[in-house]
């Protein structure tokens, strides 16, 4: 099986290790991974801010970059949701691009989704002794309807004790430019999220979107809290050497 990795701009620049871990996990299942170098960003920052012309420019680039890929895997529920939900609509007046957008949408998978639904992974061979909780990012759980998938994967990791996160459906306050534009509201949201994380007693917060994790992690750090923040792929890869 061959897939292309869509790293996402955030992971590319800030969290390359997440990308490396995704590659490592996929390869451990015999998947051949490539990385089309012409990929940039899915365009979501522009799209969500209303700059749809600019978002289309990014989208075209991404569509072109993955034109020859049989499948695309990305470690971000949010970017996958951007491609799947908004790309076709973004090109509603350009039939040719719309068709290509739908094609990309149909072959793009979020990381956990790919593992559970395409690879049908049932027996993760990982051991990660930790007390953890999971953050359901909005675009992944609502946008893509993926809630059980990462939980299912993490449930197979040996010695990983998962706690339910209270108010797990509530947004962490990231929201892209929202976090900067309305930072005072965002602050209250992320603080509430952190309060809920703390009630679980978890030492590790696991998620599937580096945007949320950058927000929560950045606030945790600012507050001097010790909770470690990790992507699902990091847990699976780090726990892989059992």
């Amino acid at each position: 099986m061959k897939v292309s990795l869509f790293i996402t701009c955030l992971a590319d620049v800030f969290y390359p290790k997440v990308g490396m871990n995704v590659v490592e996990v996929l390869r451990s299942y015999g998947v051949e991974v490539d990385f089309p170098q012409d990929q940039t960003c899915c365009g979501q920052p522009a799209f969500n801010s209303g700059y749809h012309k600019e978002a289309r420019e990014s989208a075209r680039q991404l569509i072109k970059a993955f034109a020859d890929s049989p499948m695309v895997v990305t470690p971000s529920g949010s970017c996958a949701s951007m491609i799947r939900h908004y790309y076709p609509d973004l090109f509603k007046d350009e039939p040719e691009w719309k068709e290509r957008a739908i094609e990309l949408a149909d072959k793009t998978y979020e990381f956990s989704e790919f593992l559970v639904h395409v690879l049908k992974v049932e027996d993760i061979e990982a051991k990660f002794p930790a007390h953890a909780t999971y953050h359901h990012s909005c675009h992944m759980s609502r946008g893509l309807g993926l809630k059980g998938e990462p939980i299912k994967l993490l449930g197979q990791v040996e010695d990983l004790e998962m706690e339910d996160l209270p108010y797990c459906n509530d947004c962490c306050g990231f929201g892209g430019t929202f976090a900067a534009k309305m930072s005072d509201i965002s602050e209250k949201m992320v603080d509430e999220k952190i309060k809920n994380i703390e009630t679980t007693g978890a030492d590790v917060l696991i998620g599937s979107d580096m945007g949320c994790l950058m927000n929560i992690g950045g606030r945790l750090r600012r507050l001097g809290k010790e909770v470690r923040v990790m992507h699902v792929a990091e847990v699976l890869a780090e726990g892989g050497q059992k």
Partner: protein, 471 residues
């Protein structure tokens, strides 16, 4: 829309600093959203209900002229009076005109958001007419001289201590802060008002076209009193609040109460079909229906048309994490929460309501909760798009996204930018962390740390070592 003294940011700051809101909002939200979730679980197939409710609303709005015509024909046939109000001023003129003609001294009102839209209380009071809100929550905020902060729980920002103080003042004696004592006082006090009132003004949850009926949904019974005791009843309705027949009413009422509080049905659902009939000895002698446009028709035929499907259940407020922290008043308009952020700029224009579409993290909780499936967060993006296209966004932002569009569509430029990110932001970083950034970054770093871009980006790693390792 209201002329509000504070700009958006100031209203938000004020709300965020309010200790009462901080306590009351999550409490109310949790109760109401919990109720809705339970109700949905009881149904089991809530998605099918939402789908049908949405179809019904969309069909009705798409044929609004026909159903309104049918409605008013039937209202007249039943002996009621119909008034079309294109603007808020028209509505005021109509209602004050009726009050003048009836020589009214006092008016009781049951909850009506439309009446808030046209500030009818103020206009009636200016004529020397006493206006009393009878919904307990509305009565509380009327005494406090405030506006509702929630669609269905208008006084959630008031504590029992505050209520006790206000009620005690009216009563002329000290009341305890027991809920039962406070409500008993309100019952007694408002009952007197009802028995004296010349006119009752109600809202309209739904009008039924086929029979010319106005249907009111309430738990307290004040809507029944308003529409039964005074000699004249005026119902104020937003022009979109209509269903074709009683059969469709079933679906929208079932969704309204379940989504609002989680009740399978409200305590009272009251169908007002005509003024009193010849054999009756209660009920108003006159019935007036005021149908208000006030900017709604401008939404028809646009990307926002679905916003008119709203049945004002408040579910989107109850799940909104932004509303949870800033409450209703910070939005500044009559309607708050996600639906307020969508609707207010449509009714009042971007000039005054530029920031509202940005008061959302686009988490989509609202769209998921909405019983008539309005894609609320998508409509907020639509607003932002319109603001961009109308050139209303700041120059620096425009430039930034122009650059973004260019870089992301030119891989070599993008790659260079990625490569430079680490060192480029190096001057801001300390131990790999940026805690104070300039410009937009400042908003981020005011609240949280930002990691310094990695020394080696993923794409560089791939080129150097990642590529060759496929087994």
């Amino acid at each position: 829309m209201s002329a509000h003294p504070l700009i958006f940011n100031e209203r938000v700051d004020k709300a965020l600093a309010d200790p009462i809101l901080k306590k009351a909002l999550p409490l109310t939200q949790d109760r109401l959203r919990g109720g809705r979730i339970n109700a949905a679980e009881q149904l089991g197939n809530v998605e099918e209900w939402r789908e049908l409710a949405s179809q019904i609303r969309s069909h009705t709005i798409a044929n609004l002229d026909s159903y309104l015509e049918e409605l008013v024909t039937n209202v007249r046939k039943n002996g009621g009076h119909v008034h079309f109000a294109a603007t808020s001023d028209d509505a005021v003129e109509i209602i004050t005109g009726i009050a003048k003609e009836k020589n009214a001294k006092s008016v009781v009102k049951s909850k009506s958001m439309v009446s808030e839209e046209v500030h009818i209380n103020k206009h009636l009071e200016d004529m020397g007419i006493k206006v009393v809100e009878s919904d307990l929550g509305e009565y509380i905020i009327q005494l406090a001289n405030e506006t509702p902060s929630h669609l269905i729980a208008p006084a959630i920002h008031k504590t029992r201590e505050q209520v006790r103080e206000m009620f005690s003042k009216v009563a002329g004696r000290q009341l305890s802060d027991e809920t039962t004592e406070l409500t008993a006082f309100a019952r007694e006090k408002l009952r007197q008002e009802f028995l004296q009132a010349d006119i009752g003004i109600s809202g309209c949850n739904f009008a039924v076209a086929e029979s010319g009926s106005v249907v009111l949904v309430s738990n307290e019974g004040n809507a029944r009193l308003t529409t039964t005791v005074p000699k004249v009843h005026i119902a104020m309705m937003g022009m979109e609040r209509i269903v074709p027949t009683w059969n469709e009413l079933d679906m929208v009422v079932s969704m309204l109460t379940r989504s609002a509080t989680g009740q399978k049905i409200s305590v009272y659902v009251t169908g007002i079909n005509s003024p009193r009939q010849s054999e009756d000895s209660d009920g108003p002698e006159e019935f007036h229906l005021v149908i208000l446009d006030n900017g709604r028709s401008n939404i028809l035929g646009t990307a926002y048309q679905e916003a008119l499907n709203c049945i004002r259940c408040g579910a989107c407020l109850n799940v909104c994490p932004v509303y949870r922290h800033i409450g209703g008043h910070a939005y500044g308009g009559v309607y708050s929460g996600p639906i307020g952020a969508v609707l207010t700029p449509l009714l009042g224009g971007y000039e005054e309501w530029l920031e509202l579409p940005y008061a959302s993290s686009l988490c989509g909780a609202c769209s998921e909760a909405c019983p008539v499936k309005i894609p609320l967060h998508d409509l907020l993006i639509e607003h932002r798009k319109d603001e961009v296209e109308m050139g209303l966004t700041p120059f620096s932002e425009k430039m930034a996204f122009k650059g973004f569009g260019f870089a992301t569509s030119h891989p070599s430029v993008y790659e260079t930018a990625v490569k430079l990110a680490h060192s480029g932001m190096g001057f801001l970083a300390k131990d790999g962390v940026i805690s104070k950034g300039p410009g937009m970054l400042g908003g981020w770093t005011d609240v949280r740390d930002l990691p310094q871009p990695a020394k080696q980006s993923f794409r560089e790693w791939w080129k150097k070592e990642g590529k060759g390792r496929n087994q």
